[in-house]
């Protein structure tokens, strides 16, 4: 382990171009997919949490199922769909960053929806009682609900991001771990490990863990600020 730490440090300090490329592809995939997951997941989660309509329970069960979907299954599905012989072959998306992002969005949006739904289902009834009692319009009620959700949105984002950055099954299937193009941190770790370069794998792993630690530090710092 000691030599791996040293190697990790050397690797980072040397600003190895391949490492930088891996980091930048990782950042692109994870940032974009988590932002899209947020844009889709937050409104849906709020809607599912705040409104009572027929079919809501079914949607919740469906969402929970999607939350538990193994990433490789998602990856395999997208590989088949976008493969050279698949139905969406004309889009030429297999082994591109775009498809990696789409697969990630499918994987992490349910998490965002679930988180928002849980929070809103708790908050919305009490808030609604007060807002209706004051005679507020529905729009104003939703505005206030959004305002309450700010911290939840933030933590949902960080969780989505953390899941995206840690995910390997789907991105390796649809991305193909092509060097300089679709290789992200997790697939690079897999690749190095298969080659027997455990040290490099651990070095990347350390960077990944450090990032995850920082995400959590930010989360707990912001928790104090935003819950006020």
């Amino acid at each position: 382990m000691g030599s791996s730490v040293q190697k990790a440090i050397e690797l980072i300090l040397s600003a190895d171009p391949e490492l930088l490329n891996i980091l930048s592809v990782t950042a692109r995939v994870c940032l974009t997919s988590s932002v899209f997951a947020l844009l889709i997941g937050v409104p849906l989660g709020i809607l599912l949490g705040a409104e009572r309509f027929p079919g809501r329970k079914v949607l919740l069960v469906l969402n929970r199922t999607l939350t538990g979907m193994p990433p490789v299954v998602c990856g395999l599905l997208f590989y088949m769909l976008f493969s050279g012989v698949g139905p969406f072959r004309h889009l030429h998306l297999l082994f591109t960053v775009k498809l990696m992002i789409i697969a990630q969005v499918v994987l992490i949006t349910p998490i965002v929806i679930g988180l928002m739904e849980t929070f809103v289902a708790d908050t919305s009834p009490v808030l609604r009682e007060t807002a209706r009692g004051l005679g507020f319009s529905r729009a104003k009620e939703y505005g206030l609900l959004m305002n309450e959700c700010l911290y939840s949105v933030f933590s949902a984002y960080l969780l989505a991001f953390a899941r995206a950055i840690a995910e390997v099954g789907a991105v390796s299937m649809v991305g193909g771990a092509i060097a300089w193009k679709t290789n992200v941190m997790t697939t690079a770790i897999m690749m190095y490990t298969n080659r027997g370069s455990f040290t490099l794998g651990i070095a990347l792993g350390l960077i990944l863990l450090t990032l995850s630690l920082l995400v959590n530090i930010i989360l707990s710092v912001m928790q104090g600020r935003l819950s006020r």
Binding site: V126, L127, R128, E129, T130, A131, R132, G133, L134, G135, F136, L144, N147, E148, L150, S227, R228
Partner: protein
């Protein structure tokens, strides 16, 4: 002002069954009764939170303000919470002073104690002019001093705006201090209704008498 007769059933059990009621304008009507007597359900239906069994409206087309038992503090400062129900800053300042919230104006509403939250919620409600005010135990979480400040404010509001006030309370003393008329509910039914002094001092019904004796009157 008249409310229509209403019933409310939960799980095939009738929890509320009330006749048509008269709520005089410019006066406070207190609703007393034990826990589970249907007071809060009554308030929720009038406040538009719950629906009665029959779909027709229970109130004429008026503006009603409803203060739930546990009000929700919005995630913003106390002052902004109060200003969320109207833009009149001087009115907000006046209400805060009247309720002893002056030094808490910039404080985050989420950090208030239970009693402070209740005072802020009352101030927030009273920012607007309503024709009917439904207050569900507005002072339950407050200490004696805040309770008296709040009662003062409520009766002033009632007199100045001439609105009808329905005050749900578990305090006989509070009903005596504020209300002109008292409704006594038991198991969802109106048992007795009348002038405060009459109902509380010389109740006509045995149930009312028993209730008042139990509460040490």
């Amino acid at each position: 002002m008249k409310t229509m007769a209403m019933t409310k059933t939960y799980n095939r059990r009738i929890v509320l069954d009330l006749p048509e009621l008269e709520l005089p304008e410019g006066q406070i009507t207190a609703v007393i009764g034990a826990n589970g007597s249907g007071k809060s359900t009554f308030a929720k239906i009038l406040g538009g939170i719950d629906r009665p069994d029959a779909p027709h409206p229970v109130l004429p087309e008026i503006s009603a303000g409803y203060l739930p038992q546990k009000s929700f503090p919005f995630r913003m400062s106390v002052e902004k919470n109060i200003l969320s129900n109207g833009h009149d800053r001087s009115r907000a300042a006046e209400l805060m002073t009247a309720l002893g919230l002056g030094n808490l104006a910039a404080q985050s509403a989420k950090k208030l104690s239970g009693g402070e939250t209740a005072r802020m919620a009352l101030a927030r409600l009273l920012m607007k002019q309503y024709e009917l005010l439904i207050l569900d135990e507005p002072t339950a979480a407050m200490d004696m001093e805040s309770t008296l400040l709040s009662e003062n404010l409520i009766s002033h509001y009632c007199q100045e705006t001439g609105c009808a006030v329905l005050l749900i309370t578990h305090s006989i003393q509070q009903a005596r201090r504020l209300a002109r008329q008292v409704l006594f509910l038991q198991q969802g039914k109106l048992i007795e209704q009348g002038d405060t002094d009459t109902v509380l001092s010389k109740p006509a019904r045995a149930e009312t008498k028993q209730f008042l004796e139990f509460y040490g009157i």
